[in-house]
């Protein structure tokens, strides 16, 4: 269960603020109807947790936390629990969003690499989350880059611009927070017009990791619970990117956000 952060004072609202926000939100989005459900287990949205030869299970409970936050914050019909899968498993095709987390070097075999390349090519979005403790793991970082290079030799990882729709698919964000903030950016590898792989160096799953009773196991630094909230929001945005892609780049959204909200974002080129 979600535990209210002790130091999340900025997120606390008094009754007056709550009513004002609720009224505004209600007017804006006209809150949806029945709780989001799915007709069939495969139609529920699932986060895939990739199992590979290496420390894949670092930051346990993070995927579950992301599931819960998505269910609590968005209309996405989330499955009851994330799915842990091998790269060569047919169940990879139960979802288009996956997290491959780790804090050490790893190597995929040819079958795994081929399966992952096909999954990405058909539409999947994969987050490589570098869970290095004091700094991003050099071994994990190099491994992720090497594997992507082998899978897509024509493509290169590049910094995702702060103006990219990834930072406003649901929440408006300025940077990708995680348990740490080693880098103020993530890198992405494009297939066509979408990012298929995103390399995060801030240990996003570390900010979401929980123990068996639901307590967060790490304290985000340096921002504490505020930073955790920002990390959760980035996780939500990642999932919304996987399911809606550039929806928030549509003209109707840009017009409203630029003019009614006075946002200072650059329209996509």
């Amino acid at each position: 269960m979600y535990r209210r952060p002790d130091d999340a004072s900025s997120l606390r609202v008094n009754r007056r603020q709550f009513l004002a926000r609720a009224a505004a939100t209600g007017a804006l989005v006209a809150l949806g109807g029945p709780a989001a459900r799915a007709i069939g287990p495969l139609q529920a949205t699932t986060v895939l947790r990739i199992r590979y030869k290496g420390n894949w299970s670092v930051n346990r409970g993070a995927a579950e936390a992301l599931h819960e936050e998505l269910r609590l914050r968005t209309s996405v019909a989330m499955a009851d629990a994330p799915l842990t899968v091998d790269l060569t498993s047919p169940r990879m095709y139960d979802s288009l969003f996956a997290i491959l987390a780790g804090d050490e070097a790893f190597t995929l075999n040819d079958d795994e690499r081929g399966a992952l390349a096909r999954w990405l090519g058909l539409g999947g979005v994969l987050l490589f989350d570098n869970a290095g403790r004091t700094a991003p793991s050099d071994g994990f970082d190099k491994s992720a880059r090497r594997e992507l290079q082998k899978m897509f030799p024509q493509e290169t990882l590049g910094r995702v611009s702060p103006d990219h729709v990834l930072y406003r698919t649901f929440y408006r964000l300025d940077y990708p927070a995680g348990r740490a903030i080693h880098k103020p950016y993530v890198e992405g590898l494009s297939i066509g017009k979408r990012f298929a792989a995103i390399l995060d160096g801030n240990d996003l799953t570390g900010a979401l990791a929980r123990d068996e009773v639901g307590r967060f196991t790490n304290v985000p630094t340096p921002g504490g619970e505020n930073q955790r909230e920002m990390a959760i929001r980035f996780g939500v945005n990642l999932m919304l990117y996987a399911s809606c892609l550039h929806y928030k780049d549509d003209q109707v959204h840009l017009d409203y956000l630029l003019h009614s909200r006075k946002w200072k974002i650059r329209p996509p080129q």
Binding site: A22, P34, A36, F170, C244
Partner: protein
Amino acid sequence: MTLPLLAALEPTTERTLTFLGGGELWLDVAVWALGALVLGLTVWNHRRLLPVRRRLGMIALRAALVLTLILIFYQPAFLEERVAVHKNTVVVLADSSESMGLPHGPTTRLELERKLLERMAPWLDGLRDGHDLAFYRFGDHLADLPDLAKDPDAVREAVKAEATETRIVDTLGELRDRFRNQDIGGVVLLTDGIDTSGAGRRATLGLDTQAVLRDLDAPIYSFTTAGDDSVKDISVAHVAYNNFAFLLNATSLDATIEVHGYASGTIPVHLTENGQLVATQDVVVSPLERDYKVHFDFVPKKLGKHVFGVEAERQPDEIYAKNNLKQVIINIVRDKIRVVQIVGQPSWDERYLRNLLKENPNVDLVSFFILVNRFNLRPLSTRDTSLIPFPAQELFAEELGGFDLLIFQNFNYGPFQTRQYLPFIAQFVKDGGAFAMVGGPLSLSAGGYYGTPITDVLPVEIPPSFGAAEDTLDTQPFTPVLTESGRFHPITRLALEPATNKAIWNDITPLEGQNLVTRARQDAVTLLEHPRLKTADGDPQPVVSVREVGEGRSMVVTTDSTWHWAFKAGGAGKDPQNYESFWWNAIRWLIKDPELDLVKVKVLKESVPVGQPAQALITVFRADYRPAANQEVGVVVRRRGPGDGRGEGEEILRVPDAKTDAAGELRLDVPVDRAGIYEVDASSRVVTGRAAEGMDLFVGTDSNPEYDRVVGDARLLDNLAQASQGAVFGFDGDPTQLQLKEPQVIRVKSRQHKELWNAWWVLLLVAGLFGFEWWLRRRYGYL
């Protein structure tokens, strides 16, 4: 067809002096040196011989002897050849098109032409020694004429102004075919210079024409009235346009106006659409110009075929007024498919459909996804999120008519206070819009649509339950089954070959979850059905059903798992393109892509002359797109008046009970007895409860192409003359100036040398010279 007789002259013998002797250069030099030495010695020996007359006589005698011997050294001979020289043909082409009847000063072009032929007759007759003669008249094709010199009256009778077209270049091509591999000495062309084919409007000769001239290999001499400025006429000579334009997008049309005989002034030129004035431009006429370009920009506002006319206002004393108007048919089509996609919750199904629509540059997509719902417990602030209001009022009440297709994808209207807009959506469909409802836990009965106006336009009836319940949803996986109708319907046609299509559907990736419906509507067509689940009537639950509603169309897909056909199929090594094919087929059918009309009408010619029938082909399909054999078809033909739209105008033909043949086709001849815009409407009840309709337009025209331009264009004749080394003259030109090709084909029948040097008289000559010299020497006492 008769061909001129290619007779050869009587064979003759040609004799040429040649030398068989001689040899190497040194031998020639030696012989000539020896001769010179002999002559030199002769002069030396006779230097004191007197009198001088006797000395010169002796030297001359010796010189003659030496030259004779040298001549013998070269062995002179006559080359005798028997040769036959064939004549080539001079072709006379006389224009006998209608425009030759137009006046030219006090007479007519035809009379000028006849007089020229009479004047030419003696000259042509004089050519017979070296040329054959061939006489033709031409209009739209080549026809024989009698021999002018032998029967001038018959020629005069035969050359009339009667052909309805003039095809000068085509006539030359026909001439080339008749005289292939034969020599033509020249082409004498008598015409007013009006070529009614496309070649007549070209500034330069086309490649085909150049090839014809190369093959003819003969000079073309034209006698013409082209450029005659004695007539007064204004014509719309040409309209350049695209036969399709995009709705609400500016397009243009260019017209060429030819003005003859009007020195100065302003001529208004109008652009009309279905007889209604769209724009007017004033053409300022100057004496130095003949052709004027008029450019019209306009914005088409209605879909379908429309007749656009360019008309120059009639001026006083015009020789022919019907060439002031030219009409063309332009098909107005969508530039983009405008689609609204409204999604109740983000999902992989939504992701794939949006991506499909967004990636296509021909789709103008507006998406609205509901990203939060009332069960979300985390507080949200507009400051922190990118959520925007759902513009129900603008979308459903104000802008919906501007879209072609509305998609409700797993969307429930309830929480958005949009129930009042649902009648607008139903009306949108009845008025011609397309609507697709895609299943999911927020769709159909689960979305609370039972009893709403939207159900009136759906192809299925839904149960009254609300929300996710056993009688609204089934969560089990299944493989949909292609119905018999689905085998032929374009939506489920994933391969052209029916057997291949069936195999694809048999192997299609399974789906999961189903919105349950009560039954498919009677006038709906179910294309895919559930393999196990049944409706209230015991029929299989529809998975994909379509329906024609009023002027519009609707579709229901009772599952939110068609993304399996792309992503899961690809993962399983199957073809992920089936997803795209299915949805694009569906969208094309929903927006009534004309290619998918159930009744198609096609008039074979866009412009039909009055008096000739227009041929219409009507093709009818059943709702599942099988050919509708022996299907009753109602056909109505109308002639529209100015400003009339579809279905308006004077009815000129009604065939209420025609029947298609086994291929679902009906051919019909439409009488055209007056000029105007004709509309052919066909309707057939291939869909229960309503008639499917098709329509096509054509223009019935009484404008004579011969009079589209009443003054010939000298450019064509100049170009022909320049390319063939010919020339252009007026009808008063002198034919004797023509430089015809000499006959060139010479065949040697025999050849022999007749030697001169070994003849008896040569020996006698040499002996005589020697003897005479000997006699003189004796007489003068030199021996």
